[in-house]
Every structure is written in C-alpha cells, then in structure tokens.
Amino acid sequence: MIVALEAASRPAPWTQVRGRVALQRDYGAGHLWLDLEVPRGFRDPVPGQFVQLLLVAPAPVLLPRPMSVASVRTVGGRSVLGFLYGPVGAGTLALSQLTRGDTVDVLGPLGRGFPLEAPGTPVLVAGGRGVAPLLFAADGLRRLGRRSEFLFGARSRAQLVGLDDARRRLERMGGRLHLATDDGSRGLEGTVLDLLDKVGPRLAPPLVIHACGPHGMLKAVAEWAMARSIPAFLAMESQMACGTGVCRGCPMPRSEKARALYVRTRGDAPSLFGNAEYAMCCTEGPVFEARDLDWERVE
C-alpha cells in the first residue's frame, strides 16, 4: 500500500466548494439521508472516501465533520453526494436541521477508498450505520460488473437502516444479502461476526472483505480475516480537525509489519500519510488493510 502511495506522491487534489441541500429525508430508526448538490469541478468521491462538511456560520460547532459518502449520482450534469447519518452529536444535529436549498461547505474528496478492484469474491460487511460507505461500494462493484455478498448486522430489525437500498443495489448483479441482529428480530440471531462465521465458509474463495462499522466490530472482522489469510479492508473513524493531513490529529497505530515497510520506503520522517508509528486516518485511510494496523492499540 505504502509503495503505491509513494508513486502518487501527492493525492489528487481536493477542493472546498459550497454544496446545496437537494434532499433531507427520514431514513428510519432515527437516521437521515442527505443529498448535497456540489458545483461542477468537484471531483466525485469513490466508495470509502469522505468529505468534510462545514456548517455555514453561525453554527453550533466549530470544526467540519468528516462524513463518509453513501452515494454519488449525476443530476442535470451536477454531482449529488448522498449521506446516511444519525444526528447523534451537536454537529450532526445541526446538519439534520438543514432543508432543501440550504448550503453547507464541502471539502473533498478525501482519503483513500475501498480497493474494489481487488481480486476475489467481494464480501461487504456492515455494522449498523457503518452501512453508508458499503451501499456506495455495492454501487461501485455493480459498475465493475462484479457480484458481491452483503453481510449486514445491527442491534435489531429497526436498526438495519438502508436495508432496501442495499437489496436494490445487490439484485442487479445477483448478489446476496445476509442479515444478523443481536436480538434475532431479523436474520441470524447474533453479531455480524457470527454471520461471517456462518456464511464465510460457503462463499466462493478467494474472498476479499470490505467492512465498516464500530471499531470493536472492525477489530473482530480484521482478526477473523487475518486468521484465514483473507485480505480485509476496513473503513475507520477518528476525531479530525482538517481532514487533509495537515493538523496531524487522526493517528492510527501501525502494525509492526506496516511500520517496517514505512521505514523501508520513507525512512523515519513523517509524510503527508503519517509516520513510522502512526498512519493518518484522513490521508492513508480511512480505509486500511487489516494487517496494516495494530488492532490492540486501535481505540
């Protein structure tokens, strides 16, 4: 991964533009779907990438909020970015108050997305709200003409947000949706990892996993995959200030191997992507390969 980053010494440039709310709607179970239209010239994000949404002043929060992109559509020659989110903090609460025509500053696209071209049967593993970038990944795989398996776990049936959207995305390529809920109200009773245990062995090998969800779940998925030598790509989250590698606020601890590789290719000095000890979630991530992080130290 790092070698590939070296080749592209500068990531493709992001821009900051003024986005316009095209749609804000209830997405069920306390979640919302937001469509933001961005001006021409804004580069379309790829699945797994994120943007920084900055509320126009006066705003109740200061910093922009990193938001994973759940879809990109083109409407009338302009890109519309879709976001699936829960109004859980002051920033997302304020975002939830916006209505059609309101504006938000959008900075992006940021970070590196899922390597959807990676060989193997794509297995998308989503936990709760983490489904957002995987809906987009399912779109991306469909465009590549690839059939994927979608494993979706949540606390209860109601928390399987975006279930219909996921199904629609999979149907065209004949992909399958596998469900699990903690309370057994839908699909397998258990976690998404239980589901992986059950479904994984039945899928056509080799597998390649793309996952997003709470860090505890991602750690379990990473360990599951590494124990079976299955490549797994996990979309991580972190507190961030800038989102562009400048503030150095979002370090993710590297594994021993990733650390050695960094030192071999970059030496001991930090780069835009991080340093020997830490990768920056915003530039080298937010999607990391399981073996590149030290999961014991991931918060």
Partner: protein, 328 residues
C-alpha cells in the same frame, strides 16, 4: 508591494518585522498550515504575509498517541506533540518547495534545550529563502522543552542571546499565555535580541468524556485554540505590545479580517491565522481580503494608521497604584 483591493483601490498593508518586510500582516500559525505546500493548490502562498511552518526539531518526531484532537465550545484542543519531519528533511525537501511556491518563509523551530535550538539555527540560520525564524518557546504538548520549561524570563533572554548571532533573518519568540506575566517574558525576549514576539500560543486545557469516564485527549491536557481564546489572546497581545518596542505578532482565535484588525488595533504589528485554516484552507487569504475591504471602507490607506488605535497600557500590566485603599 501594495495589495490591490477588489475595486482596484489599494491599502498599503506592508509590515516590517526586524529585517523582514511582509507584503501584508497575515501569517499562517505554526502547525496549522503544514509545510505550506499541502494547501498550495487552494491558496496562492505569495499573497500571504508569510507562511510559518510546522515546528521543526533536530530529529523527526512521531507525535503523541491518539486521541490528539477534541472539539470544545467554540474551540479545539490539540495534543499533537510536535510531529515533524526533522531538520534534514525540512532543509532538503520542504524549504526548496516553499521557496518555489513564492512564499515568504518563516521557519518554526523547537528544542528541548538552548543547545538544541543553537544547533538548529546554526544549521538553518543562513539558509537562502528563509526570511525569519519563530522559536517555539511554548508547545503545551511535549514532556520536555515545552511551554513550562521556557516560561522563565532569564532562560529566554540567555537563549536568545545565543541564537541572535546565528542568523541575519528575523528572530521571533513565540510565547505561552499560561504565565504570570506575558509582559515580563516579552521584555526578556526583547533584551535577548529578538526582532518580534508572538502572543500567544495555545492555552493549556482539558476535556473529559463523562460517558466513558476518561480524558478526551490521551495526554489529558492539550492546547486550546479557536474563537474561544480570542478575548484571552487579545488581552495578552495588548499586554505584550504595551511592554516592548519590538513588534508583537498577535495570535489566538482569528477567524476573519475583523478579528485580525482587532489585534492590530490593540497594538499587534501582524497576526497569525491558525485554527481557521482547518475549517477553510483558504482562510488566511480571505483574512487579507476582508482586512483590505474593511480598511478601504473606512478610507484608511495604510495599515500603520490603524495599528495601535486602541493601544494603551492595559491596567492588568500597569504598575500597581501606590497607597491605594482597597475597600472590601
């Protein structure tokens, strides 16, 4: 060298800081603008007064363990821990790139001892293209050589006396606000031979995650920046400006042109834009434009005519009145 306004009007924004003449008083605060090149595709660096780089130390540093960032009301705490590329890479990679971008470069350097700082400045002091050095005497997030170590007037003065002969470029001392008297430290810097003083670095702060019963930052404390500290920084800036003759560079919560002009009104010669760049990478350039527009509207043609319009000896640092009775 004047900055054209939007309608072709012009305000002379030039500022002198020791041997360095800036085209305008807007600098990027160290640590908030990387090494300049990260934002170069959205900001014309040559339009800024100057770019103050991320603090460089002798050896590369990996910085502190996460979490390093926490947002607080109208502000943010950071505990980065001086992550930086180190002297060698700074010199071989970063300086040439910044020079090519046409930036006025102010290199921020940091050390745990006076000896480390003299080695750094000994190596960089005559580097072509570096217009000035800001000595980071005030990092709140390192175990050694941070704000507390340097908040000693005699140490600052002695260290600056060692540094002064090592460069002909501008020498700026960046001070911590978490001291008994910013004025005393500013005076020590002036006597040590500094060309200017930056007032102020971040304030030490703390945030608690009550739900998880833990600190929000890994090292518990961090440096508070953003609009939350602007009134505090303004007061310290005014205090420093009243105490010394060399220029004071104001810093703390400047988000727009009006904020910048407030600092200049209380006596700052120049200002730094920091946290705002994390929100809007072009913030520093916007501040230049907004300042210009404000001054034009008031018919002010030279920034010098605005500087210090509210400067006085703030009561907080004035000599205590003698024999004054205090009634409880």
């Amino acid at each position: 060298m004047t900055t054209p306004g939007k309608n072709g009007r012009r305000v002379d924004l030039r500022v002198r800081i020791g041997p360095m003449t800036l085209r305008n008083p807007i600098l990027t605060a160290s640590g908030t603008f990387g090494y300049g090149d990260e934002y170069a595709h959205v900001v014309d660096l040559s339009e800024l007064g100057g770019v103050i780089t991320k603090t460089v130390t002798l050896e590369p540093r990996a910085g502190n363990a996460p979490a390093r960032i926490a947002e607080t009301p109208s502000g943010m705490l950071n505990s980065i821990g001086l992550e930086n590329v180190g002297l060698a890479r700074f010199r071989s990679e970063k300086v040439p790139r910044l020079r090519a971008l046409g930036a006025t470069i102010v290199a921020s350097i940091g050390g745990e001892t006076p000896g480390e700082l003299t080695r750094l400045l000994g190596a960089l002091g005559a580097e072509p293209g570096i217009a000035g050095f800001e000595i980071n005497f005030s990092c709140p997030n390192v175990a050694r050589g941070g704000a507390r170590y340097w908040a000693v007037a005699r140490r600052l003065e002695r260290t600056l006396r060692l540094l002064r002969p090592l460069t002909k470029a501008a020498l700026i001392a960046k001070l911590s606000p978490d001291v008994t008297s910013v004025a005393d430290l500013a005076i020590a810097c002036e006597q040590g031979g500094a060309d200017a003083v930056t007032a102020v670095n971040t304030f030490v702060g703390m945030a608690v995650d009550l739900g998880h019963v833990r600190h929000k930052l890994n090292r518990a404390t961090g440096g508070l920046s953003g609009p939350a500290i602007k009134p505090l920084a303004l007061a310290r800036c005014a205090e420093a400006a009243a105490a010394i003759k060399i220029p004071v560079i104001g810093s703390g919560g400047i988000m727009n042109g009006r904020d910048a002009l407030e600092f200049i009104a209380v006596g700052a010669a120049a200002v730094q834009v920091g946290t705002a760049s994390f929100m809007r990478p072009a913030a520093a350039a916007e501040v230049v434009e907004e300042m210009n527009a404000f001054l034009e509207q008031r018919g002010i043609r030279r920034l010098g005519d605005w500087r210090g319009v509210l400067a006085s000896t703030p009561e907080a640092c004035a000599p205590a009145p003698k024999r004054r009775k205090v009634h409880a």
